[in-house]
């Protein structure tokens, strides 16, 4: 099964659910499903800023496993981080996300 994650809520979503559950499982190839994409809203986009330690691990595993990472463009512009993300990570809105996933559609979209 292929899934995409949408990180919509804040608090511990990135530092805990992503950083301590999903990411280690991806790194160890035992997540159980194929992750085709991750989309980040609001403050969750800070994980995509170049130099973020969780983001660096995520960026690496995403490149290795062909996982699309995308930040919400309005969220990034509002936080003035759009030009500070890891190289090659796009920003966009729903049309961009759907277009980017269209070649590798997930079976399930999980909102966290």
């Amino acid at each position: 099964m292929k899934v995409a994650y949408i990180f919509a809520t804040q608090r511990h979503t990135v530092s805990y659910v992503l950083g301590k559950m999903i990411l280690p499982q991806l790194e160890e190839n035992r997540h159980g499903v194929s992750v085709v994409g991750m989309f980040f809203f609001e403050d969750n986009n800070y994980v995509l800023v170049d130099g973020n330690p969780i983001g660096a691990r995520l960026h690496k595993v995403a490149k290795e496993q062909g996982i699309l990472l995308m930040g919400c463009d309005q969220c990034c512009y509002e936080r003035e981080i759009a030009a500070k993300l890891f190289p090659g990570i796009p920003i966009g809105c729903f049309p961009d996300l759907y277009k980017a996933l269209s070649g590798n559609m997930p079976d399930q979209v999980i909102t966290l």
Binding site: D73, Q74, Y77, E78, R79, E80, A82, A83, P90, I91, C93
Partner: protein
């Protein structure tokens, strides 16, 4: 960080960041179009822009627009709308896509084509205004 725009609101300078231009631009995008309409310009991926103008004695008195709600495009359009009032039409024509890109460096490279679209649409309404002026 981008420079401040002229004009004050509640004692706070209006900032020329993509996020804040987008906020203001969304409102302008819903306002009624002005008296002189330009030709709409559409990109191959369906992104659209059209400007409208009010002109008084050869000077831009107001700028309106209808654009697709792409964040970068709305921000570029709003920058044009905030910059132009008071300028003569000849001076308004000097604004380029390169300048727009320079003013908003946060827009990533793959979105900077929106600046070209915005300038093409804006030049269209300037042409319409000049035709009006000499008609």
């Amino acid at each position: 960080m981008a420079e401040n725009a002229p004009g004050l609101c509640c004692s706070a300078s209006q900032r020329l960041t993509v996020g804040e231009l987008f906020e203001r631009g969304l409102r302008r995008n819903r306002e009624q179009e002005l008296s002189i309409l330009g030709t709409g310009v559409e990109s191959v991926d369906g992104i659209y822009a059209r400007f409208s103008l009010d002109v008084v004695e050869g000077q831009v008195a107001g700028v309106g627009f209808r654009v697709t709600t792409c964040t970068a495009l709305v921000a570029y359009a709003e920058y044009i709308a905030e910059l132009m009032p008071g300028l003569r039409l000849e001076a308004a024509r000097e604004l380029s896509a390169t300048k727009l890109v320079e003013v908003l460096p946060d827009v990533p490279a793959f979105r900077r084509d929106r600046a070209v679209l915005a300038i093409a649409a804006f030049r269209s309404v300037l042409l319409a205004a000049e035709s009006d002026q000499y008609a």
